[in-house]
């Protein structure tokens, strides 16, 4: 359960940023390992790429793109918050704009890769 003093949207934004960061940290070593197969064992890489055609993995690619987008926009949000002189109203507008553009960008990205 989320403790009452944390139950506000900005804390959830922080939580999402952390979780997406952890998710990416787990994904990246596996990613680099698979890429390295191109040099060491091309045959198993081809086998693996074949395996990724499976629809379940296509769905999990969506999750990955989501993690990347959330983490990138979360980071940009923090940089903007700390380095630009916002007023709270501008901040709300900017957050809404960022969410909308992240959403649209991910849809395009997913339709491109799928």
């Amino acid at each position: 359960m989320i403790r009452p003093h944390r139950a506000h949207p900005l804390w959830l934004a922080f939580l999402l940023h952390r979780i997406s960061g952890l998710g990416l940290a787990l994904f990246l070593p596996a990613h680099f390992y698979v890429l390295s197969l191109a040099l060491t064992r091309p045959a198993s890489l081809d086998g693996f790429l074949h395996w990724t055609e499976n629809p379940l993995l296509k769905v999990s690619e969506f999750g990955l793109v989501f993690l990347l987008a959330v983490h990138m926009f979360g980071g940009l949000r923090l940089l903007a918050l700390e380095f630009l002189p916002w007023s709270p109203r501008q901040k709300t507008f900017a957050a809404a704009a960022a969410v909308a553009s992240a959403f649209i960008a991910s849809i395009f990205f997913i339709s491109a890769v799928a």
Partner: protein, 243 residues
Amino acid sequence: MAAAQKYMQVSVWRGDEATGALEEFDVPAQESQTILDVVSWIQQNADATLAYRYACRVGMCGSCAMMVNGKPRWTCRTHVKKVLGDNGRLTIEPLRNLPVIKDLATDMTEFFDKWIAAEGVFHPTKTRYDEIEGIDPESSVRVEANAAIECINCAVCYAACDVVSANPDYFGPAALNRAWSLVNDTRDGGQAARLEAVSSNGGCHNCHSQQGCSTFCPNELNPTLSIAGLKRETVTSLFRRRS
């Protein structure tokens, strides 16, 4: 005949941090009632030994803050109706992140010591024999200072901050907010020492910008923005020194 009196179930923290526990009280519900009214009713009618703190009752002195249903609040200006859960229960505890002396009274020494450690202290550059310095109310620094100045030292933000709970050295939002208003005070002569202090171990770079402080500050100040100002200031001063 008057309508039958309704009662609220109120759990109140009794004792100190280590050995204390919640104690139940039945308190008559009123049409218009603050959390501080509830606490005073208990102390005046149910148990005279209840320890708590308040002074002004109008949101000026900053002494009455407590945790109400898990959230930090100024109790004299928090209406019961606004915070009562669906189950009609109230839980009132001492502020988080501060040592408990007894019941609802916390020891605020470290909170105030940290204001001084963060250089939230004015360093005058003039004497009483000098002319009073004119400050343009429209100037950008005065506008920045204004936004941060109405702090009542209630420690609500300090109780809301998870970085304070994780790092006992962290000065916390109120002290850094005060330091930021002084960074924008053109009469102050201690800016170098202040930048040094706010970039030390307990300083502004600990802040994760989660904004618990701004969410709960009863005076609607935004310590996160002030701390972001300090972060910018420490970064630009680094480049100033290099060049």
